[in-house]
């Protein structure tokens, strides 16, 4: 039995089904992420775990106990809000001491516990400050310290890094990973940022339209997306769809409109004529001036239509004669040379048959 069991949870707002029959088991000590676009139901699900909202159907169990009758203040879980929700009229210490006071902790124990919590989130010496005297990152740490000071069994985080700038966000991600390892508390993390989810999580549930599309480890989610939605939402992805035209030696051939036949190594038993999709990451594609590909590769000639110089990499959008566009990515690893090709260059794109991932839809 998992620590936190979400069983067939459904939540409707009028005609709109925000969370649709979701079942997830979250293990003790896990860093679990609910990932999805806005409106996918991830925040609604988190609020039902916290107790701010109640499911219309299904149950939320903690250690096997149904939480339906427990209001948020009586659930052994803490939430970190996107806006931090620090009490502006209390100092950092006052904020962190608040849950201890609510739990009727003896006054003599509060001081040391607050100090320890502030150390955990690296805020030593800032205890006397008021929230408005802190930077965004510091506020975030206070919110986390305040939530962790009573050692809850689960910490719920609602897009906690969304308001921070990119560099700080990366630092905080590393700190969150370390903190979660140190305290050993189960984290349930909500985000719409797929790189954040991949970097932080032990497991990710990708949500779309109230349903869980895929629940897996980050590398599986990225490498082996189960649905078109997951492939498209996580990172950049070329999606080639078309009916199955041939099968030989564990390699299917798809008839992709505007590109032509595309081959993919897969064990899928999809019969001929059925539509399938190949998900192919841009970094798996080779791009050359002339044909070098061996016979096991898919290779196509096209013209560079757009390029995006990103510093570390350059993204090329290569137009096919049929009108399709293939996105390829080249690392700018050679010094002194930012671009290999220019818009209008004729190039050869190719990838091995086992570079992509086959989706049966």
């Amino acid at each position: 039995m998992a620590l936190l069991e979400i069983q067939n949870v459904t939540r409707r707002f009028g005609d709109f089904t925000a969370v649709d029959d979701v079942s997830i088991g979250i293990e003790a000590g896990e860093f679990f992420t609910l990932l999805g676009p806005s409106g996918c139901g991830k925040t609604t699900l988190l609020r039902m775990i916290a107790g701010f909202d109640l499911p219309d159907g299904g149950q939320v169990l903690l250690n096997g106990e149904d939480l339906a009758d427990r209001p948020p203040e009586r659930r052994p879980m803490r939430m970190v809000f996107q806006s931090y929700a620090l009490f502006p009229h209390m100092t950092v210490e006052g904020n962190v001491a608040f849950p201890l006071q609510m739990a009727k902790t003896p006054a003599a124990e509060i001081g040391p516990k607050v100090v320890a919590a502030l150390e955990d989130v690296r805020l030593q010496g800032l205890g006397k400050r008021y929230p408005h005297e802190l930077s965004g990152g510091q506020k975030q740490r206070v919110a986390i310290g305040r939530a962790l000071v009573t050692h809850p069994s689960v910490l719920l985080l609602d897009e906690p890094l969304a308001a921070l700038d990119a560099k700080l966000r990366e630092e905080m991600q590393i700190e969150l990973i370390n903190l979660q390892k140190e305290v050993g508390i189960t984290f349930v993390y909500v985000t719409h940022d797929q790189t954040e989810a991949l970097a932080l999580s032990h497991r990710i549930a990708v949500m779309n339209k109230g349903r869980v599309e895929q629940l897996d480890e980050p590398s599986k989610i990225y490498g082996f997306p189960r649905t078109r939605f997951v492939a498209d939402f996580i990172g950049h992805c070329n999606l080639f769809s078309g009916p199955v035209r041939g099968r030989a030696d564990g390699v299917l051939t798809l008839d992709v409109p505007a590109i032509g036949p595309v081959r993919i190594a897969t064990r899928s038993p999809l019969p001929l004529g059925q539509p399938g999709t190949i998900a192919l990451r841009p970094e798996k594609i080779r791009i050359e001036a002339a044909a070098l590909a061996d016979t096991r590769d898919n290779h196509y000639r096209g013209t560079v239509q757009e390029l995006l110089y990103m510093g570390d990499v350059t993204v090329y959008k290569v137009g096919m004669p049929g009108g399709a566009q293939i996105e390829a990515l080249l690392a700018n690893s050679q010094s002194g040379r930012a671009r290999f090709f220019e818009v209008g260059d004729t190039v050869e794109v190719s990838w091995p048959v086992d570079a992509g991932h086959f989706i049966e839809e």
């Binding site: 916290a50 701010f52 209001p71 948020p72 203040e73 009586r74 879980m77 803490r78 939430m79 809000f81 806006s83 929700a85 620090l86 009490f87 502006p88 009229h89 209390m90 100092t91 608040f98 849950p99 609510m102 739990a103 008021y130 408005h132 305040r146 939530a147 009573t150």
Partner: protein, 303 residues
């Protein structure tokens, strides 16, 4: 240079008229009143001549009278007490109302606010006279109260012309002045703070006393000032609804100017009233800064 001077001129054009208005109609009359408090009352009311027989007639007679005749100090204390009670009762009634309005949906909010300020559309005196009817001996309220009292073997009590009537009407008149600043404050509260407090283990009661109330203190102070200071000087309500024992300092001041026509003594009473109001407000601000409101007032400063 030219631009700077132009901006200075613009600033004077904008802020000049109100400053001039305040000087002419507030500062100068106040100074005249201060001067009058040191003068001698005229034989037939008003003021005796300032220059007489070549010497300036300024004295402390009226001040001495205030401090010697304790009846005035007593009325003063009573007025402060009534104003304090009015403030507390208004706060107690206005807080739930303001909270209700602040939490209702946008559609009803405007309607409810309109209802709060609706009384301002009719005349102040007419509204006070209306209370004479409501509290009158033949009205349902008095009959019910006295009926219940008779049940317990108690004789009938008059509701009208009593300190009860004065207080009820004072609270009634003050209520909107308490509701509006409180609403303005409560409406800005971030609901996430209450959710966070609840998530951190606070009961509804603790959420109110630890989060909502401390954050609403600037609104409480603003409302208290708007209620307390006018209530301290009011004379129409005790005049119309009070009994002989319910005269407040406002009535005495009015009496000195309009009936007894002792302007210097009336001026003394007015000055004492102003000084007392300032002292009490200053004391309240000092207590608040020291003990309760530091963070919220600091927050206000930043905002």
């Amino acid at each position: 240079m030219a631009r700077g001077r132009g901006r200075g001129l613009g600033r004077w054009l904008v802020s000049g008229p109100p400053i001039a208005y305040l000087i002419v109609f507030f500062a100068v009359p106040s100074l005249i009143m201060v001067l009058a408090s040191f003068r001698t009352p005229g034989e037939f009311g008003g003021l005796a001549p300032l220059y007489e027989d070549g010497h300036l007639d300024l004295n402390l007679e009226s001040y001495l009278r205030f401090f010697e005749e304790l009846v005035y100090a007593r009325i003063f204390v009573k007025s402060v007490w009534y104003a304090l009670l009015t403030t507390l009762f208004s706060l107690g009634l206005a807080y739930p109302l303001a909270a209700l309005i602040a939490r209702s949906s946008k559609r009803y909010r405007d309607l409810l606010l309109l209802l709060v300020i609706l009384p301002f559309w009719s005349n102040f005196l007419i509204r006070i006279y209306a209370w004479m009817i409501i509290l009158g001996p033949n009205a349902a309220l008095a009959k019910t109260v006295n009926g219940v009292l008779a049940w317990f073997g108690h004789g009938p009590v008059p509701l009208l012309f009593s300190s009860f009537a004065v207080l009820v009407c004072l609270v009634y008149v003050s209520l909107p002045f308490m509701v509006l600043p409180l609403y303005a404050n409560l409406e800005k509260h971030d609901p996430a703070l209450l959710e966070a407090a609840q998530d951190l283990g606070a009961s509804a009661w603790q959420r109110f006393w630890r989060i909502t109330f401390p954050l609403s203190l600037p609104g409480v102070y603003a409302g208290a000032a708007l209620v307390f200071i006018p209530a301290l000087g009011i004379f129409a309500i005790p005049d119309i609804l009070g009994g002989p024992e319910d005269s407040l300092i406002g009535n005495v001041i009015k009496q000195q100017f309009l009936e007894t026509r002792d302007w210097p003594f009336g001026s003394v009473l007015s000055i004492v009233l102003t000084v007392a109001a300032l002292a009490i407000a200053g004391l309240a601000a000092w207590v608040a800064r020291g003990n309760l409101g530091t963070p919220s007032s600091r927050r206000e400063e930043r905002a």
